[in-house]
Point group: C2
Chain length 197, copies 2
Amino acid sequence: MSENTRVADYAIHEQFIQRWSPRAFSNEVISEDTLLSFLEAARWAPSAYNSQPWRFLYARRDTPNWQRFLGLLNEFNRGWAQHASALVIVISKTTFTPPGATEEGPALWHTFDTGSAWGHLGLQASISGWHTHAMAGFDKELARTELKVPEGYEIHTAVAIGKLGDKATLAEFLQARETPSPRKPLSELAAEGDFTL
Amino acid sequence: MSENTRVADYAIHEQFIQRWSPRAFSNEVISEDTLLSFLEAARWAPSAYNSQPWRFLYARRDTPNWQRFLGLLNEFNRGWAQHASALVIVISKTTFTPPGATEEGPALWHTFDTGSAWGHLGLQASISGWHTHAMAGFDKELARTELKVPEGYEIHTAVAIGKLGDKATLAEFLQARETPSPRKPLSELAAEGDFTL
């Protein structure tokens, strides 16, 4: 297990610095109930007009969908994510019916709100002793056709979920990166009043 | 205090169903350290290539910036948010320097990632005994000029943060809505394998 050297500059719940995104996974099988508990946490995220734009498609290892989902990843990500326990494709609905309206219009906050659901998902998985790693490197268009994602839905990320494995199983250049990542100082991210960042 | 009748369908940490978005706030003053602890939680969110696109501008009540920030909200939101303790404008950087590159390119995940940071923020505030309410109803263009937000940054939401107040202070039609909102069943949000939602 990698040492977590993160230090919070302000008093926060330890879950926020304990959650991190490894690549060394242990080939553990995950039960559907456990995986769904991570999505359950996502379900309770806030969203504009409570529109709940988030959608999730998933495959667990040792099930018929596993190789199909793995095949959506680029070669680099497939190399390590094949040892994860589940893959989740995070999607959002791009339209919604505004309060008082009778027809759907554009959902201007669907990406932002679905990001907050992903934040919940990652925290619940970490609290439960699992790890998540969201990937940009996968074929979105292939995912759309392979998983039959209709128009009106946007595909955002593919998340590998698993139990932490031995980093010695990773290529050497990845072993060096297998540790909780640092963050910019809050002074570069937040300002009182005008934008001075 | 409103009764929270939410029930999680799968075992999750109670923080996810305890967090909700009221409108009745109590005019409490918030210390800068307390407010920054909520942004600290956001700081540790995951992001593509650890690019950390989130930025936050804030004003606390009883400080010189308070009326300026309140003035960005539409009349409906200003009516209740004037009793909050802080307002936070959530912004993201729309470009970043990809690994190995020497120039900035478009940050394709800045909105999604900043959503995850907002998810962290709302949870830490709730854990600390405060409440948050993100608003779509504010003038983004006015916020850009008033707060001097440069090009290359996108403005997403305005968040009211405060201590829960007496809902009797709200207009009658809002009192009826002053309760933790429900969610769609997970079966409408998540599917194994193909998109069947």
